[in-house]
Amino acid sequence: MVEVTGVIADLASFGALVGIFAMLALALNLQWGKTGLFNAGIAGFWGLGAYVASMITTNPVPTALARPGHWGIDQAAFPAVFGVSTSFSMAIVVAAITAAVLAFFIAIPTMRLRADYFAIATLGFAEIVMNVFVKNLPGITGGVEGIAGVPRPFEFGSEIWKTNLSYFLLVALILVLVFFLLERMVRSPWGRVLQAVREDEDAAQALGKDTFSLKLQSFVFGAGIMGLSGAFFAFWLRGVSPPPNSFTAADTFAVWVIVIIGGSGNNRGVIVGAFVVPFLEYFSVRAKDWFQLGEPLASQIFYFRLIAIGVVLIVLILWRPQGIFPEPKHVARRPRWVVGR
């Protein structure tokens, strides 16, 4: 019995992480897959969402001699609805909005840049936010120590498998909502005009499209979803910690790999892709126990996932550059239900 609950706890935790990365991948799929925006600063929006959510769901901690403190909100101020503190819903919404607002201000000066320069600008922004600001603001962000003791929305009893499973179900529900939201938006005339911008921005402009504004909308909306994913990551990890522990360029890279493997432009595809990358990590951590590996392989196998990702990418780009699931044809489709008369 211990065996079964242990497996459930482990798989549920893994599943929730897949869901969190799937949200990031869906957001990047809007920005890159549909609009052609080379966002290389995913970790920045993700991390910002995670930090904001952490501050909203924890009590403030003053800086003591040995440990940096961080901002927070007195949790007694949040009323509980059906036994769940409203601080969580507030944290999720504010995390998404903060990331979106930041994206707006970053986009204003950088959106006119060509794709490659835009990538460098967003990468630089993410590094500045996480490495310069977050790390060096003890008293606000917890400095290099980050924020610990972030709770999860549902803590059913003390058994780990119950809390992990309920958290997985919550993330899965949110992922489904995000999926349908994005799918509806992308499979509309708006999605079609974004795709036109992606294919040929000059031509879209020559047809009277305000391409700057369209790119801005896509970028800001995508960043908001990245912030939302960050909030769920903070709950999952029960805390946040700055680079090099979390929110690094490697995380940004992982989301890119997910989108390329799954199929750029296909929302179902990137959710499948979101399974692959975390699975390689999940597998490489546990392989030494599963296969009773001896040294030196036992301590080295963890790093084989990096080789595996590289091999998968090369094989895919050579033989199936459109990803596992190619982009669907016929962008805009009348949805099953419409609003109004």
């Binding site: 939201l181 005009v193 047809l207 909306f221």
Partner: protein, 256 residues
């Protein structure tokens, strides 16, 4: 001859300099409604630069451009399109992974469904408008005889079909003036005839075309009015016959 028809598009002393080169140099000309006006001139005369200035891709250093008396120079390209001046590209710029029909539908102006919130909510009126646009696009496609290919990816079309698509896409905008940058370059004779037939048919229904063209045979036979440019300026204008016999034009072409 020119005075009795009102000018729809006018440039006054327009100048554009790139580094030390005056690509367009105090160029003044007028385009009259309901005509096909040809723009000729040797390579480097500034024809394409002038088109880009009119379309708003560059702002002129000096001078003004006006559409029916309203200044449009210095406005962003998408606003100029909304005011009714649409330019085609010399090399077709189709949206490769959209279908032929979608290429036309995406060109339609003022689609409420192109706003993210209405896309998310999915108003019925958005999708009703979408149907209207689909019907209009289908009509334009049959006009240019691409209706059989409406479901094909635009990237799969032949070079000539892409030229047709390029023209069809601009028609979705109901433009007041269409700027055609070498619409016949690299097009076979049969398709040339078809394209010119479509353009003339639209002209007869009141559309105005301003066309850069190198094929003198086409310019002489098909244009209603011709403007010749040399070294950034309009050096002659008039009927095709008048321009052909103009000495300045002959000198320009013979390297004068």
């Amino acid at each position: 001859m020119t005075a009795d028809v009102p000018a729809v598009l006018r440039t006054d002393g327009v100048t554009k300099t790139f580094g030390g080169i005056r690509a367009v140099d105090r160029c003044s000309l007028a385009i009259h409604a309901g005509r096909i006006t040809g723009l000729i001139g040797p390579n480097g005369a500034g024809k394409t630069t002038l088109f880009n200035l009119i379309a708003g891709l560059y702002a002129p250093d000096e001078g003004s451009i006006s559409l029916r008396g309203e200044r449009i120079d210095g406005r962003p390209p998408f606003e100029i399109v909304h005011k009714g001046v649409v330019k085609t590209f010399q090399i077709p710029r189709e949206f490769r992974h959209l279908t032929v029909l979608e290429n036309l539908m995406v060109a339609s102006p003022d689609h409420p469904g192109e706003r993210p919130v209405s896309a998310l909510v999915g108003w019925r009126r958005v999708w009703d408008r979408e149907e209207e646009i689909r019907e209009k696009a289908a009509g334009v496609l049959s006009l240019v005889e691409l209706d059989r290919l409406s479901d094909a990816d635009a990237g799969e079309l032949s070079g000539g079909q892409k030229k047709l698509l390029e023209l069809a896409r601009t028609l979705m905008l109901d433009p007041k003036v269409v700027l055609l940058d070498e619409p016949l370059a690299g097009v076979n004779p049969t398709l040339t005839g078809k394209l010119l037939g479509i353009i003339e048919g639209l002209r007869d229904r009141g559309s105005t075309f301003f066309m850069i063209e190198h094929d003198m045979d086409v310019v002489m036979k098909r244009c209603d009015h011709v403007i010749a440019m040399h070294q950034g300026r309009a050096i002659a204008e008039g009927s095709p016959e008048e321009v052909r016999q103009n000495e300045l034009v002959m000198d320009a072409y013979l390297g004068g």
